[in-house]
């Protein structure tokens, strides 16, 4: 990388410290371990404080709706006694149209309280609109840095729609071509403006999502008398899984299984200029889901507060065609036009519900707004225009970046399990690789890695031994 970029990256620690108003170094215990719960408690806000902040910001308390027609559809082909009840938390009811308003509201509250003039976030997703909306309400300036176009200046309609919404809320949108150097541009902007870094991955952002899990437990208790047996989460960078699971636990819903779901985009390179427009989903996919689960600290902050591997009970993938099918089913059977990316969990929930007893309750944990560009019709038309084959058939035959296969029947909806043991091995390998060469993990490191990977210290020791043997 060129001299200017290298110089900016060398100042990264100081820039982020000024832009976040606190120092991550206070929580470091070793080159591997850090005090995660200490970091999460550092903002000093209880869940009731966060709820009050969000109510004042017009965020949260979204409806939780039972999907009786979809449930009956699943029961029409499930084995006798099977077919769980399906519910959805309608997060599109938030001001900017997604659960990301929850993340943004806490970051903007902190930025305002600490006297920053503005906020900056790097995101091509719904989070940009959420930050722009909350900043507008708080009277703060806002810059959203987006990876928006390939080198031909062609952008996914879903991302272009998000650019439009950010601008509608008065944000300055900095649109870039494909590449990880977006991070350097963000650092330069933080340094130039002195604004607050409204990172998706700060403890503030993740605390904002805990209310989502908390509300789901409360609303399900009111509707059915108990917390849900399963919550299905659309999983990308890990904040959604982490915050929701922490909120469920804070509401006492400790038996609820947390299932993360991503769209399978395996084989597509996330930094490739040509692959950029061969994806029909710009978030909720394995291109974020797997690398962030196995190395969360690749984020734009020194330590990522979103650590999905800690909280996943199961991780499944679905195909693009299955999510489009579920999106259409939600429209036609339930009168809810949402998504498409947020419906990744819906597609997975329809498949999971078939194999669960009727008494089980499955909550699809979010929806997102839809509109021109950010709509399943637009995504499919764009895919076709970019040479992707779209056809009806068995979704198992689809190849990310080459074909989208829309199921012919709902029985064809299925989930593929991601091997969590493989992800845990990969996580431990990444943690060791980021420590100085020759560093020997201590007992405390092993305990930390076991907590972070949701496994036992003995299992971590086994992985370390295996890696040492090459």
């Amino acid at each position: 990388m060129g001299g200017t970029s290298a110089a900016v990256l060398a100042r990264r620690g100081a820039i982020m410290k000024a832009a976040l108003g606190f120092d991550y170094a206070a929580f470091e215990r070793s080159p591997i371990a850090f005090d995660y719960e200490g970091l999460m408690a550092s903002h000093g806000l209880t869940i009731e404080d966060v709820r009050a902040i969000q109510r004042a910001a017009g965020v949260g308390d979204t409806p939780l709706i039972e999907l009786r027609n979809l449930t009956d559809l699943v029961r029409s082909y499930a084995p006798p006694g099977f077919g769980a009840r399906i519910f959805v938390k309608d997060e599109a009811a938030n001001l900017a149209g997604s659960f990301k308003d929850r993340r943004a509201s806490v970051s903007i509250h902190v930025a305002k309280e600490r006297g920053y003039d503005g906020v900056i976030a790097a995101t091509s997703g719904n989070y940009g609109a959420a930050v722009a909306s909350q900043a507008a309400r708080a009277g703060l300036k806002c810059i959203i840095v987006q990876e928006a176009f390939d080198s031909r200046h062609v952008g996914q309609p879903e991302i272009i729609e998000k650019s439009r919404l950010c601008e509608a809320f008065g944000a300055e949108v900095v649109q870039l071509t494909v590449g990880p150097e977006l991070f350097v541009v963000m650092l330069e902007l933080l340094e130039e403006t002195g604004y607050f870094a409204a990172s998706l991955y700060s403890p503030f952002g993740v605390a904002g999502i805990e209310t989502l899990g908390f509300e789901i437990a409360e609303q399900m208790r009111a509707l059915t008398g108990a917390p849900p047996s399963h919550v299905v989460v659309t999983h990308a960078g890990g904040g959604n899984t982490t915050g929701t699971a922490r909120g469920l636990a804070k509401a006492g819903a400790r038996e609820t299984q947390v299932v993360s779901a991503s769209v399978d985009l395996s084989g597509l390179h996330m930094a490739s200029d040509t692959d950029f427009n061969r994806k029909s989903f710009t978030t909720g996919h394995t291109g974020f889901g797997v690398p962030f689960a196995t190395w969360p600290d690749r984020a734009d902050v020194p330590r990522n507060a979103a650590r999905a591997l800690r909280y996943m009970d199961r991780y499944v993938t679905v195909s693009q065609g299955e999510v489009f099918y579920a999106t259409e089913a939600l429209c036609k059977l339930e009168g809810l036009e949402r998504g498409p990316s947020g419906n990744t969990a819906l597609a997975a929930a329809m498949a999971l519900a078939r194999d669960l007893p009727r008494e089980a309750t499955v909550v699809v944990q979010e929806t997102e707004y839809t509109g021109a560009g950010k709509h399943h019709w637009s995504q499919i038309a764009f895919a076709r225009a970019n040479g992707i084959e779209v056809r009806l058939g068995d979704p198992a035959e689809s190849v990310p970046g080459t074909s989208i296969v829309v199921p012919e029947w709902p029985e064809q909806l299925s989930v593929r399990d991601v091997d969590l043991e493989r992800l845990r091995r990969s996580y431990v390998r990444n943690a060791l690789a980021h420590a100085p060469e020759g560093y020997t993990p201590t007992e405390d490191d092993v305990r930390f890695l076991a907590e972070d990977a949701h496994t036992t210290p003995e299992a971590v020791e086994g992985i370390i031994r295996e890696l040492a043997q090459g």
Binding site: I143, V174, A271, A372, P410
Partner: protein, 108 residues
């Protein structure tokens, strides 16, 4: 000069600039990305009159001043819903029929 050919001072416009030339890009990029420059587009109020393709400074919504090549005046959006994909049009009809048949079987 009209909107298609250039801007007056104070007009809402879009400018383009190259952030990194191909030789300055990050290490380890896929080859297709590495051979392209990293480009940026920003919108703001033009600080002077300019023709499309000329250098101009803009003042953005946050008050930053950015210099770039003028690419558009009153830049807008044309993304749409488009036509319904033929693979999706029958899903609603078929699924409603299935739910109705199931409920009839269950005596509801």
């Amino acid at each position: 000069m009209n909107e298609r050919t250039g801007c007056q001072a104070g007009d809402w416009v879009e400018v383009e600039r190259v952030v990194l030339e191909p030789g300055e890009r990050a290490d380890g990029l896929p080859e297709d990305t590495a051979r392209q420059p990293l480009k940026m587009w920003v919108k703001g109020f033009a600080r002077a009159a300019a023709r499309i393709g000329e250098k101009v400074e803009v003042e953005t919504m946050t008050g930053r001043v950015v210099e770039g090549t003028l690419t558009d005046v009153l830049p807008g959006y044309t993304h749409t819903f488009g036509r319904p994909p033929k693979e999706l049009v029958a899903i609603g009809r078929d699924l409603r029929a299935r739910v109705a048949a199931y409920r009839a079987r269950e005596g509801r």
